[in-house]
Symmetry: C2
Subunit: 185 residues, 2 copies
DNA sequence: GGTTGCTATGCAACTAGTTGCATAGCATGA
DNA sequence: TCATGCTATGCAACTAGTTGCATAGCAACC
């Protein structure tokens, strides 16, 4: 049945790192995991139901004080086996979707006002990514301080974070190049 | 009606750069445009039909010698107006989907054989991106030789290509980091 | 005369992901 | 007591994209 369905596998990895409820997963998908996979809470709940009925995960109702009850999920043996099979499949070539690049090439067909608007937009976009980089670098200093012994899982998390940092730095440099190019038109 | 539907807009940009048939567009989406937006020929034909019935593009049947006839599309006024409106909308925050990063974090839950398989896979992945970078650099030398006068459209195409090159270089460096990390586990 | 292969277009069924909405528990403060 | 806001879960309708398949023109080669 082919290889896709990466959301399921991202959830398996996250639940293996730390079991949790759909709500907690949704919040992780807004932070750490969200760096390389995104999903809404609706989709997460839907997929968790399917994974539960496939026997990949096990749910446990947990009563809580001072807040609503929750269903905490953890990975079952079948889920772990599925993950390991998937890990050994080749990586799918990724579907590129870079809207900003489309807009930059599209700017050739807009007038001076449109190009000015695009410059503002690129500046705004750059600011949001500056903030993202700052957040990553801060997280790196907090979670992986120099000179600390790290286990395998932490070293793998760290190398993925370094990828995010490298990406954001590359992006900021390129956005400067874009701004120079747009201003020189 | 919100802002998404970027495929339509990528097609508009491509047809403004150069009118052409669905087949020709599909080939461009395998090369230049494919650098920042992907689509299958089935989807392109489907979307072109919709764009035609919305009056964004105009089709012309062209009889050809030595090969089947084709329907050549060009952008209508309504399509150009739509593109310009879209260009001025804010860029949507992109949905990140980085399967390899999921697999790297997942490797913490696999055994030595699984990590060895991942190393091979990363090496293979690295080779394909080496080839991509080479292709980009070659294309840059061919299309944008140093010291040439470029018009606005070409300068914009060039800066987008530079982004692709910067991305691939960053990626190759990071993959080396990943390989070092995996081997040191 | 048949096969292979590129050009050219498309339908149908499916999967994945988005958007809008709804419900409910419980705490805090006005 | 009412409003606000966070925790927590979910349904329904929709849009976008994928996959598998089908058809046909025409050239070149065997």
């Amino acid at each position: 049945m082919m290889a896709p369905m990466a959301l399921e596998h991202a959830i398996l990895v996250s639940l293996l790192e730390q079991p949790g409820s759909g709500y907690e997963l949704a919040r992780r998908f807004d932070r750490s995991i969200g760096r390389f996979w995104t999903a809404t809470h609706q989709q997460i709940y839907r997929v968790l139901k399917r994974m539960e009925s496939d026997g990949w995960v096990i749910a446990e109702e947990i009563g809580q004080d001072g807040r609503p009850d929750k269903r905490a999920y953890s990975v079952a043996e079948a889920g772990r086996a599925e993950l390991i099979t998937w890990l050994r499949d080749p990586v799918q070539p990724e579907a590129v979707r870079h809207e900003l690049a489309v807009k930059i090439r599209g700017a050739a067909f807009d007038d001076a006002a449109g190009r000015a608007a695009l410059i503002s937009e690129v500046e705004r976009y750059r600011k949001t990514h500056e903030a993202v980089l700052e957040r990553y670098v801060h997280g790196e200093g907090r979670d992986f301080p120099a000179g600390t012994e790290l286990d395998a899982g932490q070293r793998l998390q760290h190398v993925v974070l370094r990828g995010g940092i490298a990406y954001e730095r590359m992006l900021l440099d390129w956005l400067d190049d874009v701004l120079d190019t747009l201003r020189a038109l």
